[in-house]
């Protein structure tokens, strides 16, 4: 198995944020993890990256257990997260931001080459090379964040809400780029709130609701599944349950 999570549980003090999640990513796939706010999507990614400690469960990557490893070891193995809300370094220039992405790569020539590659992918970044990251617009920052992720030669890329706060036209551009990245052989675990978009691009998808996976299947299946909408907007079935009073003591 290329990448697998088994029964992942995460607590933040008293909050049970993830209640036993299991999912797999195959080599070369795009897998979407969708769900409403507070469903636990980012917690999942942060547990994979090792930013969240104290979880239980097993995460394996290329037949190796990576649970509990420090973040830099996980990054070294080629699992690279592009965090939600971009989180570019605001006072570093665009170029320095990209260099930070290649922090673990000591081969200078290759870093140059990678940077050239990123500039080709995002010509806008070349123009703004010497500008501090904080002065870029939202869409540009997202591109920079993805570019920075690419600088680390990801084998498995974790994308956390790349569409958040972007205009639809930009979202489509970003998703095209994600698709292209996947075409070059990088596996992608995509966390999204924008379900339609994510499922359109994904090979498979999982739907998270309050820390649990409620549905999974191929992108197409999920697109037509009424449960997906229910998970977001509180569909009929849930409504009925409430009216029947099952949820009350």
């Amino acid at each position: 198995m290329y990448f697998e999570i088994k029964d992942l549980q995460v607590y933040y003090r008293a909050i049970h944020a993830l209640k036993g999640i299991s999912l797999t990513v195959n080599k070369g796939e795009i897998v979407a993890l969708i769900g409403g706010n507070g469903a636990g999507k980012s917690s999942t990614l942060n547990s994979i990256s090792g930013l969240v400690q104290g979880q239980s469960g097993v995460i394996t990557y290329k037949d190796e257990v990576i649970t509990g490893l420090p973040t830099d070891m996980i990054v070294k193995k080629g699992i690279i997260q592009v965090p939600e809300g971009r989180h570019i370094f605001p006072k570093l220039t665009v170029q320095e931001n990209l260099e930070m992405g290649a922090f673990l790569n000591d081969n200078k020539a290759q870093v140059e080459e990678d940077m050239e590659h990123v500039y080709q992918l995002f010509p806008r970044m070349r123009e703004r090379r010497t500008q501090p990251g904080g002065t870029l617009s939202g869409g540009e920052q997202q591109m920079l964040a993805i570019g920075r992720g690419l600088m680390g030669h990801p084998d498995l890329m974790l994308l956390d809400e790349p569409s958040m706060g972007l205009a639809p036209i930009l979202v489509e551009q970003i998703f095209d780029i994600i698709f292209d990245i996947n075409q070059t052989g990088t596996s992608i675990l995509l966390v999204e709130q924008n379900a339609q978009m994510a499922l359109a691009i994904a090979d498979r998808g999982y739907v998270l609701e309050t820390g649990e996976i409620v549905v999974s299947g191929t992108g197409q299946e999920l697109l037509n599944d009424p449960k997906v909408q229910a998970a977001y907007l509180g569909g009929e079935s849930e409504q009925e349950k409430l009216q029947k009073g099952d949820y009350y003591f």
Binding site: R13, A14, I15, H16, A17, G36, N37, G38, E84, G85, G138, E161, S163, M164, G165, P168, E172, F175, F179, Q183, Q193, N194, A195, Q196, M197, A198, A200, I201, D203, T210, G211, Q220, L223, V228, Q229, Y232, L233, G234, E238, Q239, L242, Y247, Y248, F249
Partner: protein, 277 residues
């Protein structure tokens, strides 16, 4: 006798910027007496920012907030609490090393008058007030169902109880308006339904007006009189739960839009990829 104002809270054209980014853009909201209004929207829609503006954490760049027809822009948070607006927090913020009842006592701060001089000389006023406030705190704890925990340290409470304690604390200053920020986040269905019940009682028995942010649609659809939907800092819809559930704009905001051609585009490209292999 003064005329009763028509709304508890009126927010007019609120705009809040953060260094170039517009977090809330031209949002208006009227909150009638004894109503429950929900604010929903995807991540980063500006819901909590809007809340923070009402409770005085941020000053808005444009627009006015009226509380019972009185503008409250730029007033420090403690004075806003004095006026009768209380709130709870997204990620529970209790005074963790203090006991449960002490937390509730802090909530009564704006209603107490005794000073440290009173305390030092143990005046009559101090004695009476201390006794009354402790009694009231116990009543409040009993009301939210935490009577048995009164002397425990707040940090040791289970999660759901911590959320209830936040509400009890917020009730201490006899609020006209209660702002609840994700009261049901991270709760299991049982705790959630108990919370719904509590919120309903707050309105029906204690006559408190409530504005809440919530992601759990079961809660929102079940208890709200009216729902305000924010997306990218803008108000995209407001209406009753039924209206919102069938509102196309809302569905798009949550699920994304215009995907027909996209699905086609990507599946075609996927097929191409397959051919290449």
């Amino acid at each position: 006798m003064t005329k009763k104002p028509s709304y508890v809270l009126e927010a007019e054209n609120i705009t809040i910027n953060f260094g170039g980014l517009t977090a809330v853009n031209d949002v208006s909201l009227q909150v009638p007496f004894e109503s429950i209004i929900s604010i929903i929207g995807p991540n980063g829609a500006g819901k909590t920012t809007f809340f923070n503006c009402i409770s005085g954490f941020y000053a808005c760049d444009n627009g006015t907030v009226f509380f019972q027809e009185r503008p409250i822009n730029g007033i420090p948070t403690d004075e806003i609490a004095n006026l009768g607006i209380s709130r709870t927090y997204q990620n529970i913020r209790l005074f963790t090393n203090m006991s449960v009842i002490e937390n509730v006592l802090i909530g009564q701060q704006p209603r107490l008058r005794s000073t440290c001089i009173d305390t030092l000389f143990q005046t009559f006023r101090n004695r009476r007030e201390e006794k009354q406030s402790i009694q009231k705190a116990c009543n409040l704890l009993d009301f939210v169902g935490l009577g048995a925990y009164a002397d425990d340290v707040a940090n040791n409470l289970p999660y759901g109880a911590q959320r209830r304690l936040e509400i009890a604390r917020a009730l201490g200053n006899n609020p006209h308006l209660l702002l609840l920020d994700e009261p049901c986040a991270g709760m299991n269905p049982h705790e959630t339904s108990a919370m719904i019940e509590l919120i309903n009682t707050l309105r029906s028995q204690l006559k408190i007006t409530i504005v809440l942010i919530e992601h759990d649609m079961k809660v929102v659809m079940n208890i709200s009189d009216s729902i305000l939907v924010l997306d990218h800092g803008e108000k995209i819809a407001q209406g009753t739960p039924d209206e919102i559930q069938s509102n196309q704009k809302v569905i798009e905001a949550y699920l994304g839009s215009g995907t027909e051609n996209l699905v086609e585009k990507y599946s075609r490209r996927k097929a191409d990829k397959g051919n290449l292999d």
